[in-house]
Amino acid sequence: MNISILAFGIARDIVGQSEFDFELVEGGTVGALKEDLVDRYPDFAKLVSFAIAVNGTYVTDEHVLGVKDEVVIIPPVSGG
């Protein structure tokens, strides 16, 4: 399935754009997405960490993604 992903901060710099489409197997998990992202953009492996938010909430690697989800890459935050 084709999902749309938003990228902020250094994630946007790594991907090269703030919104992009990404191909993931039907019923793919967040964990699978993160692995695929690192495969395609090795610079993600250099970060302290990165999380995925789905529909505005942090989710764990086991979370199953759907095609209509708002999927966002959250690199290490540094507000405040």
Partner: protein
């Protein structure tokens, strides 16, 4: 009472402090986070803050709600700025009122500590010879 805002204009400590005043509260703790003019030994020209706005607001609200569960919070205000900031500018204000002062300090410290861990806001430091996303790399 909880007030959460993400603003692209100057933050106002007076407004935030007055916002948490209430006659039932005896202690108000306020944290004001400003932009320093250097990191390690390098002079910072400016900072650029960006936020995943919808989620930044909801995560800040969660922090306020968790603070209100753990301490007898009367009112709490969290304002965070976005956009371009210079040394001395205020990036964040957290104001908390409680009946007694100890809880106000604890709740305020909890809120800023948690904000720096969970709220999807990122800052980029711009130096004379380059720029870096803060906290991104080990």
């Amino acid at each position: 009472m909880i007030e959460i805002q993400l603003l692209d204009r100057e933050l106002d400590p007076k407004y935030c402090t007055e916002c948490v005043y209430t006659p039932e509260a005896g202690g108000i703790a306020v944290f004001v986070g400003t932009v320093r003019n250097q990191t390690a030994d390098k002079r910072v020209l400016r900072l650029e803050f960006e936020a995943y706005e919808k989620m930044a607001l909801s995560e800040m609200r969660k922090i306020a709600e968790r603070a209100a569960e753990q301490w007898p919070v009367k009112r709490i205000v969290i304002h965070h700025r976005t956009g371009v900031l210079y040394a001395g500018d205020i990036a964040v204000i957290i104001a908390v009122s409680t009946p007694h002062r100890k809880a106000a300090f604890e709740a305020c410290a909890f809120a800023i500590d948690t904000l720096k861990e969970t709220v999807p806001i990122w800052k980029k430091e711009i130096f004379e010879d380059g720029e870096v996303w803060v906290a991104a790399h080990p």
